[in-house]
């Protein structure tokens, strides 16, 4: 290869390239980095949003790590990760595998039904589920009908069950997305592969483990990332369904941010929670992509 223009190989970064990305960089910096920088700045202050802020250094961060009232929301978010992310991904895998394995009559219909919760705004979902969970709502009616009276309760007013109740709504919403993603991933696999496996005597689980799972690794990373982010930043469901109650049993980080920064006039702490949450989400996505993504761009 003959070298032109000094030692630089073709395609190496040239100064003019920066001119091309400059507009995007500018927009990115203005609308993303600058607010983020401002947020970081605010996190070092105690500020009510009205008067002059007081510099408190790292106090807000120390509070988030040590104050049980501020730590609890993060633990609640972890519970939601199980219901919003792990369960739907598992269910999605099984459903997608089942739907690929056998030709179901009306598969398109089922696909649509499973995906439907995904297209409904979460506030609407929350309003509906609030009624479903009511002490005299359909869920409790159903429980009483089958004789499980002891299980009937005000689900959202019960400190032990409230996170599970909110979590199951997340499962209901997330499963469709995961199923559809995995279906797309499985569609890439040739049917001959399954036929060959079946001739070799592979059952459903062997197929799932040896063919389907490796085939959808990329989709798995995407599904985990999307659902995990959704779990960690849950706000709408909690805000509409319980407003963090009963007591503080269902307060999650996003709700804490809103409550502190907007309602209570404690902007510094609220912003700090938001930043810690952002860091957590970044870490979670990075981890997921390292483990499940196998280095492929997801």
């Amino acid at each position: 290869m003959t070298r032109r223009r000094g030692s630089r190989a073709p395609g190496e970064p040239r100064l003019v390239a920066y001119a091309y990305v400059a507009p995007a960089l500018l927009v990115f910096g203005l609308f993303l980095l600058a607010p983020l920088a401002y947020a970081v700045q605010l996190s070092f202050f105690e500020w009510d949003g009205l008067g002059l802020g007081t510099w408190v250094g790292l106090d807000n961060y120390v509070a988030v790590l040590t104050d049980p009232e501020l730590r609890a929301p993060f633990l609640h978010a972890l519970v939601l990760v199980v219901f919003f992310s792990l369960v739907p991904v598992t269910l999605g895998l099984v459903l997608a595998a089942l739907m690929t394995r056998s030709r179901v009559r009306g598969a398109g219909f089922f696909r649509t039904v499973i995906f439907l919760p995904q297209v409904v705004a979460l506030t609407v979902v929350a309003v509906v589920w609030r009624q479903i969970y009511a002490p005299t709502g359909p869920l409790n009616d159903a429980l009483r009908l089958v004789g499980l009276d002891g299980f009937a309760r005000g689900w959202l007013g019960d400190a032990d069950w409230v996170l599970v109740a909110i979590g199951l709504v997340g499962t209901w919403v997330g499963t469709g997305l995961c199923t559809v993603l995995f279906l797309a991933g499985l569609a890439k696999v040739g049917r001959e592969l399954y036929e060959a496996a079946r001739l070799d005597g592979a059952g459903f689980w062997t197929e799932l483990r040896s063919i389907s799972l490796p085939a959808v690794r990329g989709e798995l990373a995407v599904a985990l990332t999307l659902t995990m982010v959704a779990a960690l930043r849950t706000f709408d469901l909690v805000y509409v369904m319980t407003a963090g109650g009963p007591g503080n049993a269902s307060r999650v980080p996003s709700y804490e941010v809103y409550d502190r920064a907007i309602q209570e006039g404690d902007v510094g702490t609220g912003i700090t929670v938001a930043l810690v949450l952002t860091a957590l989400i970044l870490l979670a996505t990075w981890l997921v992509n390292r483990i499940a993504g196998d280095g492929e761009p997801a």
């Binding site: 980095l33 983020l36 920088a37 401002y38 970081v40 700045q41 605010l42 070092f44 202050f45 500020w47 009510d48 949003g49 009205l50 008067g51 002059l52 802020g53 007081t54 510099w55 609030r130 009624q131 969970y133 009511a134 002490p135 309760r153 005000g154 689900w155 959202l156 007013g157 019960d158 400190a159 319980t242 407003a243 963090g244 109650g245 009963p246 007591g247 503080n248 409550d259 907007i262 309602q263 209570e264 006039g265 404690d266 902007v267 390292r290 196998d294 280095g295």
Partner: protein
């Protein structure tokens, strides 16, 4: 796996580089504090006030209010129109938002250079108190003198929009706003059910407890209560509180002033009575899982003998129940002293940034005038002053009557969450836990006492 690691390393370096760049960017911004130095708040003397605003040339008055529901929306629209008819030189630029939306956006709006002239600000410390502290609202004392608001509005109403200039003391000091409507958290009762049970309208705590027991025995739901949203707990617990704790103690606790204690004997009685009622099944089963709206709607459909709620449900309950619904003040406890949680709707205030304070004051005077109050009553709301009992009937008459009695008797006490900026979150969560039995009355009270006493001593 090794392949993975190698391929991600450069990414990591680049990320680190970007991080450092961002950190450098931050270092330059971190130094200066957010916000502005609080102003002192303008003191308008009555002799400087212009009450004839027709001579002031063309003025655009920016107003932010939350009068968005049925009767309220109609009344404010009519008043605005009448005002601009009277003063053609004034144009009203109105922004209407629901209560929560207004509360959420007001902080940003009021601190901007382009702040609205007139805003409806919530009375409590979190909002009005913080605005006063930071010099963002104008004291209305000069206007009150010029327009005679002191005569038009009794002390009890004015004190609910009064703060000292540093925002530290609520209920005293300068006047910062005027409200159009009043509100009381009393007892709605189902007249038909009461008659069926052979009961009189209860006037004392003993009567009331007897009525609750009778209702429970007859398999009726004694008190309709939905506390999923948290804040209704302030009303229902406050209602019990009203029957045991002396008025002045409730005022000190509610306004966050020195001189009271959450752990006093009367408070213990109140908290214990609340849990006793819960245990006796006097409230809706699983009330922490029932929403506020479903609860009062259920009452409107005939479930429940009593409903502890605010007068803002007047129009809705009247429409749904007609002759069957009545309203009374809370029962009186052993002390013989009546107390009822309530006060005013959101007061209209003038922002510090307003250049047309005279016009703004004339507007506030206009929408709280006697004629305005009449329109408010006709729209199905409770006028804060000057309600005309002769024109009211049914539920409206009972509510107006209760309001007048409470005013004359000086029985109105503030909402308990006014106390400190954090008290709303604290008491809503605590009442839910007290109701669920996960905290005992003494733990409940000591938690409230901690917050109250640390706030009071910090002043």
């Amino acid at each position: 796996m090794t392949r993975t690691r190698r391929s991600t390393q450069p990414h990591l370096h680049r990320t680190l580089g970007a991080g450092l760049a961002a950190a450098a960017l931050l270092a330059t911004t971190v130094a200066c504090a957010p916000g502005e130095e609080g102003g002192s708040g303008t003191e308008t003397k009555s002799e400087d006030v212009t009450t004839d605003i027709s001579e002031l040339g063309d003025v655009t008055l920016t107003v932010w209010d939350q009068e968005v529901r049925g009767g309220q929306a109609a009344q404010i629209a009519a008043l605005n129109e009448a005002f601009t008819e009277k003063y053609p030189n004034v144009t009203i630029d109105r922004t209407k938002r629901s209560f929560t939306d207004l509360q959420r956006t007001l902080r940003n709006a009021i601190t901007s250079d382009d702040a609205p002239d007139v805003v409806q600000a919530n009375n409590g410390r979190t909002d009005m108190g913080a605005f006063v502290e930071n010099g963002l609202l104008q004291s209305l004392d000069g206007y009150a003198e010029a327009y005679g608001w002191t005569e038009r509005f009794p002390e009890s109403v004015r004190s609910l929009a009064s703060y000292t200039d540093d925002g530290a003391t609520f209920g005293e000091g300068s006047l910062y706003g005027l409200a159009q409507v009043g509100e009381l958290v009393g007892v709605f009762y189902n007249k038909a059910k009461l008659t069926e049970l052979g009961l009189e309208v209860p006037e004392t705590t003993a009567d009331f407890e007897a009525a609750l027991a009778a209702a429970a025995d007859a398999d009726e739901l004694p008190i309709q209560f939905g506390n999923l949203d948290g804040w209704p707990g302030i009303h229902d617990f406050g209602f019990v509180h009203n029957q045991f704790v002396p008025r002045d103690d409730i005022r000190n606790l509610g306004f966050g002033r020195e001189g009271a204690s959450w752990t006093s004997e009367e408070n213990v009685q109140a908290a214990e009575t609340f849990t006793e009622w819960v245990d006796a099944g006097y409230f809706t089963p699983d009330f922490n899982g029932v929403g506020y709206d479903p609860a009062w709607q259920d009452f409107a459909q005939g479930n429940g003998v009593f409903l502890v709620a605010g007068t803002w449900l007047q129009a809705d309950l009247d429409e749904a129940m007609g002759e069957d619904v009545g309203f009374v003040l809370p029962p009186v406890g052993e002390s013989g002293e009546q107390a009822v949680t309530g006060g005013t709707g959101l007061p209209f205030s003038i922002t510090e940034a307003s250049d047309d304070a005279d016009v703004a004051a004339a507007y506030i005077d206009f929408i709280t005038s006697d004629e305005a109050m009449q329109m408010i009553q006709e729209a199905g709301n409770l006028p804060v002053v000057g309600g005309d009992a002769a024109q009211a009937e049914g539920l409206a008459a009972e509510i107006l009557d209760a309001w007048t009695t409470a005013g004359e008797d000086d029985a109105i006490v503030p909402y308990l969450d006014y106390a400190t900026p954090d008290f709303y979150d604290l008491i809503t969560a605590q009442v839910q836990e007290l109701g669920a039995g996960s905290v005992a009355p003494d733990e409940f009270l000591s938690t409230l006492e901690d917050e109250y006493s640390s706030f009071v001593s910090g002043q």
